[in-house]
Amino acid sequence: MSETLYRIVALFRKELLAILKDAQSRVTVFLPPILQCLIFGYAASFDLNHVPYAVLDRDHSGASRALVAAIDGNGYFERVATLQKASEIPEQITEKRATLVVVIDKDFERQLMAGKTAKVQVIADGRNTNTAGTAQGYISAIVADFSRKWRNDNGHAAPPGVQVIARAWYNPNFETRWNMIPSLIGAITMMMTMILTAMSVAREREAGTFEQLLVTPYRPYEIMVGKALPCMLIGLIQATLVLLVAQLWFRIPFAGSYLILYLSLIEFLAASVGIGLFISSIAKNMQQAMIGSVVVIMPFMLMSGLTTPIMNMPKILQYLTAINPLRYAISMTRQIYLEAAGIAQLLPEMLSLLAIAAVTLPIAAWMFRNRLA
């Protein structure tokens, strides 16, 4: 047992040395995660000047006029239409004249005066997920601000004030940028670690060093563990970099527990590394390993729920996502990051990732030695 451990540590050290000694691979391992996170982060964010919106004021009260003035005066929104009746709303959204429509209920002012919850409905164009989502967030902020001020001005001490009811048309599940960036923790690390792992064996096969390794007393599973751990460690560092960018640059507050997050990440990385090693064990050379990992990564990205909700996919594809570790990682990081989810809540994802790792890692180990030359 101690022999095994000793050999694994030796391989672990060698792998890290091989990656970190090369200045070029040092840069490729640590710079892209930060850049990708920034790029994806901004790709998911928009210039919110002059977002076209329409308003349907059913109350025509002082309060409702004050609210519309607050939205108009904010600078982010530009009123393109003032509607008279609800039947005019579909036209605005469908024809893409307005990205969102703000509907102020009939008894808006009365409810406020009575200290009850006044309702503002925001209908957004769900086809343009990110703009609409962010815009909705802005409206919410403006309304909350208005509500607080109004209470102060009118001497109402107690909440609740105004409630925003958000509706997105065409894509009821749409998510905001706050959801996007935590998801990148999984997406970016998977991309990098999978390629890194897939290349690690293929590079040795190409250089002839893999045979040199196979004639030593290393057992296949020792090679597997010795190759998997350094890649997982680098994956964790990359995940940490993305986490730092999310918090320090994008200022998205982390709600959950770091312990649970890293526990989930370790599981997720084990599953991704398993797939990477599996690709690596089939590939004859680095080119095949590279193509192999891209072929796997693309559908994993598309079918992960990162950009399109899994629920909107055809049933057959939904089943297929069951073997996609990224799907679980994204769902887990969102829950942990934004909802402070606990272990119990994450159990289904954790078990699924464990199952993926438990299948791919042993197969990869077996393939190392038994792949036909």
Binding site: A10, E211, P217, N370
Partner: protein
Amino acid sequence: MPVREKAQPVEIERVHKTFRRENGDTVKALAGVSFTAQHNTLTALVGPDGGGKTTLLRMIAGLVAADEGSACVLGMDAAADAQTVQERIGYMPQKFGLYEDLTVQQNLDLYADLHGIGIAARQTIYPRLMQMTALGPFTRRLAGLLSGGMKQKLGLACTLVSSPDLLLLDEPTVGVDPLSRRELWEIVRRQVRESGMTVIASTSYLDEAEFFDHTIALHLGKVLAEGRPQEIAARAAGRVFMASSATKATARALQSRLFRQPEIADAVPEAGLVRVVTHEAELPRNENVIYAPVTPRFEDGFMLLFRAAVGDIQATAIKLEHRPENAPAETAVEVRDLLRTFGDFVAVNHVSFDVRRGEIYGLLGPNGAGKSTTFRMLCGLIPATGGQLRVAGADLRTSRAEARAKLGYVAQKFSLYGDLSVDENLDFFASAYGLRGDRKRTRIAWAKAQFDLGAMATLPSGQLPGGYKQRLAMAAALLHEPEILFLDEATSGADPLARREFWGRITALAEQGVTVIVTTHFMEEAEYCDRVIIMDGGVALAEGSPENIRARAKRSDGHEPTMEDAFIAIVEASRQDLRKAA
């Protein structure tokens, strides 16, 4: 520039070329080389690694420009008119760019397209090339599935497709078995004879230089000597002897003793005796050694010049810390009825043999004979399809990890981690074999001392000079004091001196009880083995001591047949039998 009367195809005039390594060091590849290749002749560039052969060929091909001096090729400046020069020459680099996923025919077509050969011209060129290379029956086979010898022939055919005026070949026979080598050179000679081509080829096989018209010996970027091979050979006149032991010591033991003597320039085992070249034209005083003078050949002359230029050689004796403990008569490797198939193809067909402890055992055979497959099964790299295999007392099928701890392995190609330093590589492999603490430190220190690696300890191993790479590979394979050492064509592409150093070490190891199993393409190296097995078509054709094997061939000129004669005779006889049976 004055118009010269009649320019020769290649006129090199005092060329210099310096390269800069990644770490900023400069390497002088060529230091004032001049030579002329006459029209319609075969010129050989001979010399050790780093001698400048490849750089010189690339310069003639217009691929690198000289820092100083001029390279005039087919009447043009090779650097200035590179494009025009390249249209009229054929250049086959060491690693020729065959497309392994294309068939033989598709590769040929591709090169014909690249050279803009018309359809009509192809009709006359293709049959001639196919007939010459004997690749005709294999036109639909994927190039990647050809044997090493056939790949080289295909590479040559692709180079010849454009009917060049000047043919440049960079070590075309490295990794090619003796039979294919002979065929390959026959093709080249026919080009000179029949098509009036001029050929310049580099080689590290000194015996090949024998049939060239002109030879140029390069060492460290300088011309050591040039002339007809007979002229080079004549330099060793009166200094070449066949030595035999009066005390019946083996040729190998005698060779390792003589090679270390300062007055001896070269010593190699040959036909049961030792061929000796002395620095001076007088006999070295040795008790118990009988000398008989013989006619020198190219290799003798070259080694004499080369040793004079190199000076003292590295001490090649290795002193083991512990001898392997087992009794010498015990069987180290036992192979019974070994079978290996790949689909329908039987690569190894019921082969049996034993290797005794402390023996040097050679696996010989043409490319594709099944010797590499056998070798890989012995090392536990691939499983056997059938039969029994016991290595160091363990059955590889059931206890491969344990058996592996008792064997060392040196691959054909340098296969340690190039980015890691010498120290880091040794440290990793020591740990891989379970060495730790003091034991590890002592073993690494031992390896560095024995292989003289101390000065290179912190250098990335990928940047080591060729000879040092091999030393490091052997050092790494010996760290755990293996009982059996496996060497897969370890001398392929190595220069003559490095090969002699290498065999000096192997001999020393065997003397101390290490079992050594080698594959090699150099038939004269089989003389260092205690016993060899010759394979072809997956079956064992002959097994026995080199003497035994040599006795199977006869030479028409009455000389004692060499290993190469015997090898070719045995393989050809077996192939003829097969043809008759079919």
